[in-house]
Amino acid sequence: MSEDLILEMKNITKTFPGVKALDNVNLDLYKGEIHALLGENGAGKSTLMKVLNGIHHQNSGEIYFKGQEVDFAGPREAQEAGLSIIHQELKLLPDLTVAENVFLGREKVNGIFVDFADLKEKTADVLEQLGVDIDPETKVRDLNIGSQQMVEIAKAISQEAEVLVMDEPTSSLTPGEAELLFDLIERLREQQISIIYISHKIEEIFKLCDRVTVLRDGAKVGEVEVANTNRDQLVRMMVGRDITERFPEIENNRSDKILEVKNLSVPGKVKDATFDVYKGEVLGIAGLMGAGRTELAKTIYGAFKPESGEIYYKGEKIEINSPKEAIDLGFYYLSEDRKEEGLVLTESVEHNISLSILDRIKNIGLIDQDREGELARKYIDDLAIKTPDEKREVKSLSGGNQQKVVIAKVLSTEPEVVILDDPTRGIDVGAKREIYNLINDFVEQGVAVILISSELPEVLNLSHRILVMHEHKIAGELDGGQATQEKIMNLATGGSIN
């Protein structure tokens, strides 16, 4: 049996400063096998694959490829050895032809000129071998995403790949394109090519894969034959039962309806969203990456223009055309992307905190810098922001403290509706806990909180109501008390609650 093994990852452990990203993970792959790698966002799937192709190096553990221990210096070396990763975001050059892309960097040359005839012929061969009907001389730009993906696969096959890793390959495909991809994957299997298939979509796993390895919090939860399992078992393995983190109890302080969203749509971002938001309540929005959570939040905040739908605020119909208007009305959106969208990294702590309220603290046109300093020092005290003083560049603070600076900015506007988009992303446990307490404070003061999070336990334990999004739509609404991780996961992956 073990002679058919093409790849073996043994006891892989990988730590980043402060985080154990992978803990003693094992994964093996047979020739011609399609092996699913399943897990929530942040479970360690990508890290494991990055260890595999040499982007990261494991702290301990071994990788055997075709019976030999390997430690690739990087993706290029892995590719040369026969191991390619097809990424979620394709890395083709849009203005080159299919043939030029497939053999990029490996073109046959006559003297100093590329032998285009040879390029075309070889590409046609590979595409034929894959049973894909694409003209090698088409520009990649003119292909749809599904075909581009096939070009990417052709590129890997032309490099004599024996193991392919596909990372969420259907995430941006239409159902029709996905079908074509599945056919191709079947043909690859017939040609004894092994595939590690990363996906959230459980149906696909049942359709394609032989075995599943499930990761959770960087550890392998289990490995099962697809034939011997079912959807419920996989979901349970993914989310686990025990919640190791502790969350504060957030008392429901729900009073008036403050926001009512009706049939809100933004092309390509949000489809027909309808929901209500109440004062003193935490409304969680769950969903997988790319499900449209952030887009929904930003639309309410005026960053995207809705194509249709209505928003009522305190009973009145409103139209929000910019974040500025949203803030003036009493909204504030805390971005999931702290470094790019939350903070101005070139500025000081003080200047970041006051950025949204400079108009409120000016005096005959000039910023009242005494008041600005006072305000900054007050928030540094209140939120226990660890910084020597308010003039310090915000860039020099740790992630958790940077996030507190953003929160100080939120608080400074005295908002009535706060939208927190993944507020605990990339910060340590202590800072997380402080942010949970802040959510509690908001609720006590009667502020409406919309909480978006990729971490299911967070949404589950902090929210009074939960909207689950799937493919830009609200797939369902759950009561906080009755929601379970399994129910949320089911809705988030396109299933139903029952």
Binding site: T346, E347, L355, S356, K386, K391, S398
Partner: protein, 327 residues
Amino acid sequence: MSQQSQEQPQAGVGATLLEKIKSATQFKTGLGLLGIIVVLSLSSEYFLTVTNLFNIVTQTSINALLAFGMTFVILSGGIDLSVGSVMAVASAVTAGLLTSGMNMVIAIIGGLIAGTGLGLFNGLVISRLAMPAFIVTLAMKSIARGLTLIYTDGRPISGFNDAFQFLGGGKVGPIPVPVIILVIVLTICYIVLKKTPFGRYVYAIGGSEEAAELSGIKTKVIKTTVFAISGFMASLSGIVLASRLNSAQPTAGTGYELDAIAAVVLGGTSLTGGRGGITGTLIGALIMGVINNGLNLLNVSSFYQLVAKGTVILLAIYLDRRSKQAA
């Protein structure tokens, strides 16, 4: 080294240290200026005289005014390649109005409106149509030059009254008028950038436009305004130039945009936006002015002067990079 200090702030070495570093960079540029002055004083007996020093500042004022406007643009993360042509438009319009017998104040306002309008147009196209500043202002550089040539029919307009010539050539006591204009404009720019919400927004947009927008800043309005300011400054500079030369040349200001950018960058303002300031730009412009003046006094051919200027810019940027990496 730098990464460690970014990740782990240590208590006690806060703003005072930061301020020291900040003032140190300006201190260094200032020191560089002083060094050049010392060398030139020793090389030429004519250099370190009151007359010559005022002369330098007067000569510098044209570039400095352009560079002040450019500072706003670059701080916001943009670039304005049209300033040299815009100044020609403004000087031609003012000159045209003057020679047709218009009141001086109206003539000047006319020139300022023309140039500011072109800057405003730049800003609107860049912010509303989301086009890159480099391309838009490159196009405007050509358009504005063309408009000037059309308006003047390719010929200089000259022969102004004494009142107008006073702007560029007059003195109040011992102080040349362009120097006074320079100081007033510098003060206003400094206050606007450091003390007003608008100034803070310019920095914030240069640091991160997305963060600025989500923080409730009207980024499009600010970006438009910044280009209008650059157009205004270019106009002012063009009018002073016309007054000094007693002539509005249709080719005036050709290539001046590069000198203005050089002054801004020499002054320590980051080309990617978000960092820097107006005082640095003044020092940057003065360095360039002093080098020009010194080499003239030393009878160095203007061909060699160009080489010297470029070398100084390269050297200054290199030193700046190195000190930033070390910090």
